[in-house]
Symmetry: D2
């Protein structure tokens, strides 16, 4: 099945394996006339690069992006934007062993069950490197959204038991702390927690939160293409995400209607809400408040302590994974969550252009 595309009008198609020649993405449907150059993309990709801190894998990947099409004289032309990152830090030998067994928590077994065999080198298509294409496309989407005053802020909300304090929210800290937490003191505690994890050959999970500001009311659709449904798919399609929340999310289910309902009120002549338990979406359509979402990410499955599993010959064996692995995926997932959210919003923005006759009359005024 052709399952590597996402989005209806603003649509990306990613391709590539961890240890193949390259990874990349084709972004189709981006409107013509958007100022865009390679630095816009590289800035996003740099945020997901490994080897930057002691809590991430020491692999050094330059991940330099090349734009191959769709831009002319500094602006998008309306035709597909093809972007590519060459793989340069491949140590396929590191992975030869895993060709023969199924790592717990990984997709080795399910790939074999589905396709009959797999590119086992570094996880192949199920590697975290698959997100390179998402992030490159996310950079395009985010640039497009900024033209309409829409801005995304994603950050680490928690790692293991360490949760940020929203009262200490410091936006700059997101890109400055190794954890991508907007709370430097929480970040220090998280680093210490991760150091403990690494000492015990173990790993940790955590939560990424994303806030989207400046979204006009009216984006999204009332039934299957609900904005929250698509955001949910977008986030859950990121490897290792096991739960997605919108607004109060799980908490909403435990409260009364009188507590959970957000009252509407007038503010400066515009309809707004006195609270935002809904997280900016009502009936699948944006309501003009901040959109708030959270992705819950499982601990890195690649741990160095000994684990039981089976091999391709159907024998029970005990393994101990080698190689270079992050003790936590969460900080590197922050830009991926932000990218997928941006892509979903960009698609909703474009999709909404045909929602009413009035919009079309503005375009085709002859």
């Amino acid at each position: 099945m052709a399952g590597s595309s996402f989005g209806n009008i603003f649509r990306l198609t990613t391709w590539g394996e961890s240890h193949g020649e390259a990874l990349g993405v084709v972004v189709d449907g981006c409107p013509a006339g958007l100022t865009l150059d390679v630095s816009d993309i590289q800035a996003y990709l740099n945020r997901r690069k490994p080897g930057q801190t002691k809590i991430s894998t020491p692999r050094k990947e330059s991940d330099a992006v090349e734009i191959l099409s769709g831009i002319f004289e500094g602006r998008t032309t309306g035709t597909p934007i093809s972007m590519l990152v060459r793989n340069t830090s491949q140590h396929s030998a590191d992975y030869s062993e895993i060709a023969n067994y199924y790592r717990p928590g990984h997709a080795d077994y399910t790939f074999d069950a589905k396709y009959g065999f797999r590119d086992y080198r570094g996880g192949g298509r199920s590697s975290g490197r698959e997100t390179i294409g998402r992030v490159a496309a996310g950079a395009v989407a985010a640039k497009l959204l900024r033209e309409f005053g829409i801005e995304l802020i994603a950050y680490t909300k928690s790692i293991g038991p360490v949760v940020i304090d929203m009262n200490k929210f410091d936006r700059q800290a997101i890109t400055e702390t190794p954890t991508c937490m907007p709370d430097t003191s929480a970040s220090v505690r998280a680093e210490s927690y991760l150091a403990d994890c690494m000492r015990s050959y173990d790993s940790a999970g955590g939560v990424v939160e994303c806030i989207i500001k400046g979204v006009p009311a009216g984006l999204g659709d009332p039934v299957f293409e609900k904005l929250d449904a698509n955001l949910s798919k977008a986030l859950m399609s990121i490897g290792a995400v096991k739960a997605v929340e919108i607004g109060d999310g799980i908490d909403a289910a435990a409260h009364h209607g009188s507590e959970n309902n957000d009252s509407f009120c007038m503010e400066n002549g515009k309809v707004t809400k006195t609270s935002n338990h809904a997280g900016g979406i009502l009936g699948g359509i944006s309501d003009g408040s901040d959109i708030i979402l959270r992705a819950h990410i499982k601990p890195t499955p690649s741990i160095f302590s000994s684990q039981k599993t089976v091999n391709k010959q159907g024998e029970d064996i005990e393994i101990s994974i080698k190689g270079r692995h992050d003790p936590v995926i969460v900080p590197r997932a922050v830009v991926v969550v932000e990218s997928m959210a941006a892509i979903t919003l960009a698609d909703a923005l474009l999709s909404n252009a045909g929602a009413k006759l009035e919009y079309l009359k503005k375009i085709y005024d002859r």
Copy 2:
């Protein structure tokens, strides 16, 4: 935007408003040769009917389904199955008042923001009655899945603070308790809790869980069409769902890799797992274990106590909602969750038929 369809190969398109002539669904892509009749569909629709217990709205809707196409001599023909339910219990007058203001927690405001106006009668397209089409299609999907030994069990996991005890799991209780809980004593406590809610003109939320048994390993796709991503979209597209979990879900993010990883082992010559924290999906592809998912549902937004809001003239007002409303949506959402999960699985089952050359050779063996 054409947002009323779901699924790629097994695809449904729903239509209809709460107080329009009728609601319905077209199921396209169902394989030919499946035994199917109106009773298969009606049995599912009866599970979502209101007016059945004291904790649901006293509206009486017969919701009798008519199959208009796609079946011949008791079997599906491979062409679209069109199904329709006439609206018979319309009291549009009840809703005339809401034409002029925006109910908190509802989609009134966002519909107006998107489309410029709305069919306000009973919530129009954003009414819970929109799920009639989903459930009718879900009945078809579930029947198809049973041909392959796949079975779905959905139930209420919690209502407000009342959570079922899985040790007391009684499958029969799901259809016998008014709460759709598989634990009769929890159900009694939940009913009492809901009675309190109603007395204080308030409402409650809760959680629906769905277990899917008998899924072969290999369904789903590794990137955007991950089985969990599609299940997540499927569930989040149901009105009032605010969070979705797969397997351990939110809990997974708080544990170590050594705790969260499921070991593989051999059992009767087949690969299986010693635990199921993953909820039956690894890397977006089913692993042969039970698939487990949860939808967190917000409290009914229609409450009888007084609320602040604005009207279409842009004035702050105070309202008090009248009409017939369930104090909790959860029990009626159980069959909707089950239906959406069944539809997603049926689509994955069909999509997987082209995954490898070996499958196609079995089909086209000449």
Copy 3:
């Protein structure tokens, strides 16, 4: 496969069999705010009704359409428009015989090859009655296009050897002649030709031409979603169409570049062309000239003279088809061609709304 939908943004899904309960269509993605009522639809459906002249089957079908959703207070709401026509003139007994053999030129054999069995009554899903849904949707599309000054004129260009004289073009004659020819004298000759066909128990084919006026330059896409590619699919998806031409079509291939190229020139300050060999489309995108297309339609396969074929038992047999059949499909196909062209244009109009940043800025001007 889910093959009963057409269009990306303006999308229809048809359903129904010739002798089933009903036939219908769901139109999803129509913008909100379009004035629409049942008479708009019925007017189109009446143009495809049989039993109106001596050159069409004497079946009397009222084909009264019912709109079930998507309209409120006389305007489209942006949600799916579901429309239905009940089958009332079913004589299934007429068709019992064909259950057992394969009619030449029909889809009986291919349906059995694909699905294993078929609803043989009146051709089931492959009946010309399937076009009811297309025409109902086409009426919506045409109404939408008129809002933007786009108008479609389809007519019979030829029947058998009788071709209209474009110098005698009389638009009113299209709806007044039984042949739907815009040339009354050609129509008389065609009727006489068809009378001969019927006397010899035979049938005829012909050509439908469609001209689309008022299309702004810029609709369509440069690669796979070329406007002519989609129009071509739209027309070829109508049963019995065997060839499609755009502009000069087949003639273009026999001419020199110097003859076929249309020169651009300025007219009243606007870019236009001095000729229109291209038929209004260059590189897949409308150029502002009239769009011109032709569908070539095979002779009715149901003929009363004796034919050789095989039955389901694999025996060579000789048959002679009974029942009520048009000696030519062409006149009734005129409104179907017009409808499919309208649907394709409506989809292109909506799709184009996201083509450039400038358009989106007009919509989202805050």
Copy 4:
């Protein structure tokens, strides 16, 4: 709009401009396990290369393809196959002049009308080089089809007034004549005709025919996804194609039903037809006979004689096109037609896997 993808299950996405960095394609949905290497692709691309004969442009393009993903140990893995061709023979200066005016018969004007500006170098996205992605994907599709005994043969049927004689059909001549005609004497006449065209600074059109052998009965869908509808779109989406025919095509419309109907008969215990006017498709579904289609291609619009047009300043001007242009596109379009037909068939083959319960039972036999 995201218009650079084609196919539902077997889906390609092309990208790239004539004078950009590179052109390429992502093929998603190809089943795992197909033996494939770079020579399979290069063999197809070599067939569309220019500069090979005196009747084609003297541009020398190596068009060496690189496979970047989706293959492991010589077989497809089921994940996207990304392929790329670097542009090496760019003379952008040749095209600087056309930045300012609209060439007759080209998409310059319509691109500006749609997107506001365009990459004018060598036609940008509307260049014939865009077909590189189609041909690379077509090579994959053709290799897949061969696994099922399906074979495609495309060739030049006519150039200007020179038509091949099917009685002299010599398959080897297709790749040996510069015209890609399977009739060497016709080819000589066509070359002479083209030499005349070139002398008079003019160009010619022609017809490509494609025969598909070994297609099992049952591929395609009965309504919008008819096999002939999709083939029609596939062919009409190739730049310069102005008409498409299936089987007898245009001729069918001029004959009687008794002449056009193909009788069924038994042959070696199998259902077959005594003739093939239908071109192998009945009711949108393959009938087991050869599929026959024709694409009518307009004369090359780039001619060296003087032409009238307008410039971007809205002035009437006279131009004379320079550069390197083929006097006829037809021979180089042969492999493009074959590729698009192969892609459409591969998609139909995969789509059909879910047509009936019986097929799925063969796959999921547990």
